[in-house]
Each structure stands twice: as structure tokens, then as C-alpha cells.
Amino acid sequence: MLRPRIIPCLLVQNKGLFKTVGFRKGKYVGDPINAVRIFNEKEADELMVLDIAASANGVGPDMKMIQFWAAECRMPLCYGGGVTTVAQARAIIGLGVEKVAVSSAAISRPQLVAEIAEEVGSQSVVVVLDVRKKRDGLYEIQTHNGTRATGLCPVAQSRRFQELGVGEIVVNAIDRDGEMRGYDMELAARVREATTVPMTVLGGAGKLSDISDLVGRCGVVGAAAGSLFVFKGTYKAVLINYPSPEIKDRLLRGALGLGGRIQGST
């Protein structure tokens, strides 16, 4: 049985690991390589690393840093941040990264997704949609770390990216970022219903039951989280953590409505 994926999402900026709230107020939480090593030990399902400075500063991906992560990472790795060209995507995959994520560049030129898929295969192309819920209740994609409005609907754009051959859609709720009050279920469900490619939801997870709620609602999807896996306790002390295989299995089996223990889990 294919399992839902529980994915720590690490935000990096100037080689440090940060955690934001509402895409702002980045708090320094440590050294990314140290975090990768801990997630290796904890056997995380997958790791997502987003360089939040690369696009905003207009600099390209830091290839040396990416190579270092790819070598260090013993689980699948998805990198995003500052990717604007097919050549960059090819180079990143060549460094041993499983998936390359595009965001702002793909919103301004969707064809980029098709071009990257042609070069490295659909399975390795991810699009990250940063979505804000506006006062009128409508969802809108924003770019450049949530500073630019696009007027685009995430549901329609998800369908479009699927047609262009994207391998995975990451839906990131800007207003939930760092809030730790749960995922935006409505947003997740709407994108899930409109598409068939693998989907990962990011933004808002504050406890493990938020993940099981998401899986209960949307089925076998990726559940990504930042704060949940880097903070502990009310005062948000920095402590890298990840559920044990037993806890993870119980959580996901319950969410999918399956009894007992997932076969073969250890």
C-alpha cells in the first residue's frame, strides 16, 4: 500500500535554517545540515528544503549548498528556491536531488514546467503554490514570498500545471504559515478534488493530529510541516523532532480507516 508522506519542510536563508510566521519574521533555528542529519536518524519519509532568500534576492540556487544537502540526505529530497531555468533544474537533479520545485517563475511562465518535465521527467518536477485567503474568502496565488498578488485561482492553476506535466503540487497556505493551528482543509480538499497528480499540503500543522485530519480528508497525500518538526512546547523551544515509525503507522492507519498495524512496519 502506498503510504501518505510526512515531510519536514526546512526554510533556509543565507545558509541558516529559519522558521517564519505568515511568511515574515524569520526566526533563526539552527544549522540546516545538523537538521538533515537528525531527520536521517529519524528516518523521515522525505525532506523539502526551500531557499526563501534565493527568489526574493534575485539570486539563483546555491549549487554548492544543494550538492552538500543531496550528499548528506539519506531520504528523498525536494529543493526549491530561485529556480527559473531548465538548465538550473537539470543541474540540481544532476547533483542527486530527487525533485526540483518551481514557484514564482512557473506562475509567470507556466510553460517552464513542461520544459523541465521534458528534460528531467515529470516525476522530478514540483510546483509550489503559495496561496492567501483573501478577505472575501477567495483564494489567490501570490509570489515572491507572498508579496505579489497574481489574481490567479489555485484550483484552476493546479489543473493547468497538471496538464503541463507537473509531477507534484505543493499547496502552501500563507496565512497558516507558522500558526500551528491546523491545515487549511478547504483549500487542500479543493485542489485534491480538481487534480490527480500527487499533492503535498504545507502550512499550519501544529500537532500530529493535524496530519491525520488531513489524511482523513484528502487520502494518500504528502503532509508537510515546518514548525511542528523544529519546535517543541508552548514557548517554541527549538528541538528537531519527527514521529517514530510506530506512532506514524498508528496515526496514518487510523486516518485512512484501516485497523491494526501497517504490515511490514518496524
Binding site: M1, L2, R3, P4, R5, E43, D45, E46, Q67, A70, A71, C73, R74, M75, P76, I93, G94, L95, G96, E98, K99, E118, E119, V120, G121, S122, Q123, S124, G167, E168, T196, V197, P198, V220, G222, Q263, G264, S265, T266
Partner: protein, 200 residues
């Protein structure tokens, strides 16, 4: 020495790191002369089938590898698209594959099936021991693909997984092996599988 074939596709470093941590000798082959002194070969691969075949051809290593595998019986392990390349052809492309194991690479079918097949799935070996020595039935491995290997001879299927129905996720004929999943990214089970290949 195990040699990882570097023709520009796949995670060479990740395999290297696994074997370095296990203190097993490993090297990388970028051209035919690098293959001297090899005892086993790893053929990684990601991306489109035709592109991978073209790159292997362009590397100038195809003939030297074929001689070793087919005439000298050197063990080889194809990974992901590297496994698919062992087949005769693929629905994904027009180029012929290496044709070392009879079969065709097909695209998953099913309107409700999310593609690519992405994530952790259970792998059941049809023959215990060998590549799967010490790996429990239904151990978890990481998959990332939309095409699978359809063996013509059922005996060549070494393991199956289920995605909209059972499919072959590992193949073996003589000393030729292939796995569709990524052992280099599958934590301790993946390390065990790569160790098994090294110790065969």
C-alpha cells in the same frame, strides 16, 4: 570493486555515500577505461527512457559494460530508469533498451491512479535471500516513477509491489538485477539491499 556508472544521470553521490559508510570499496566509471578492475556494476538512472539510453550511448561505455555483463557474467544492478533500461523497449520512448531481460516497460493505467507513483510502498520478494537477504517481507522502499517493468518470463520477476494492482518492482535473470525503487534513499532497508548486492 563496485563501480557506479556515471553517464550523467542519477544520484552517483548517494550510492557512493552508502558504500563509504559501509566501508565497502566503491568507484565511479565515467568512461570505458574506468571500468578496468570492476567486479560489480551499478547502473543508476532518472528521467526519460530515450534520454537515458542516449546518454549511456554517448558515454562510450555501453559496449564495455555489455561485454562484462553478458560475456563475463559480471553482476549488475539497475536502479529506477537504470532497471527499465534492462528491458527490450519502453512505452515512454522509441529507442530500444539494452534487452538483457525480456520484457517491456509500460505506463501505469487507471483513471483514478495518481501518477507518478510517489512515496513509500511495501515490497514483497518472490524469492527470499539474495538481493533481499535479511529484508523482511513488505519492507518499505521509496518509489518515484510512472512506468514499470513487465517481464515476459514470470521467473524474472524478483519482487512485487501494489499500485492499482500488483506490478514487478525488482527483476533478476542470472546475475542481472534491477529495482524500480530507490535503495539509496530508502533508509536502512535500502542500505541492506545495497550491502547484499555488494556481498553477493
Amino acid at each position: 570493486m563496485i563501480r557506479i556508472i556515471d553517464y550523467g544521470l542519477g544520484n552517483i553521490l548517494a550510492f557512493r555515500n552508502v558504500y563509504d559508510r559501509l566501508n565497502l570499496p566503491v568507484g565511479v566509471a565515467r568512461e570505458a577505461t574506468d571500468l578496468e578492475g570492476s567486479t560489480k556494476l551499478i547502473l543508476p538512472g532518472v528521467g526519460a527512457f530515450d534520454h537515458a539510453m542516449e546518454r549511456l550511448e554517448a558515454s562510450g561505455m555501453r559496449e564495455a559494460i555489455t561485454t562484462r555483463v553478458l560475456q563475463q557474467g559480471m553482476p549488475v544492478l539497475g536502479i529506477c530508469v537504470g532497471m527499465q533500461m534492462l528491458a527490450e523497449s519502453s512505452e515512454e520512448g522509441r529507442r530500444p533498451g539494452l534487452g538483457w531481460i525480456p520484457g517491456v516497460v509500460r505506463r501505469f493505467q487507471g483513471a483514478s491512479l495518481a501518477l507518478p507513483h510517489m512515496g513509500w510502498n511495501d515490497v514483497a520478494a518472490t524469492r527470499p535471500g539474495g538481493l533481499f537477504r535479511g529484508i523482511e517481507q513488505d519492507a518499505r522502499f521509496y518509489f518515484l516513477h510512472s512506468y514499470y517493468f513487465e517481464c515476459r518470463e514470470p521467473a524474472d520477476s524478483l519482487a512485487v509491489a501494489d499500485y492499482g494492482g500488483p506490478f514487478t518492482c525488482a527483476v533478476n535473470r542470472n546475475r542481472i538485477y534491477g529495482v524500480q525503487f530507490h535503495p539509496e534513499k530508502s533508509h536502512h532497508w535500502g542500505v541492506q539491499l545495497l550491502k547484499n548486492f555488494a556481498e553477493m
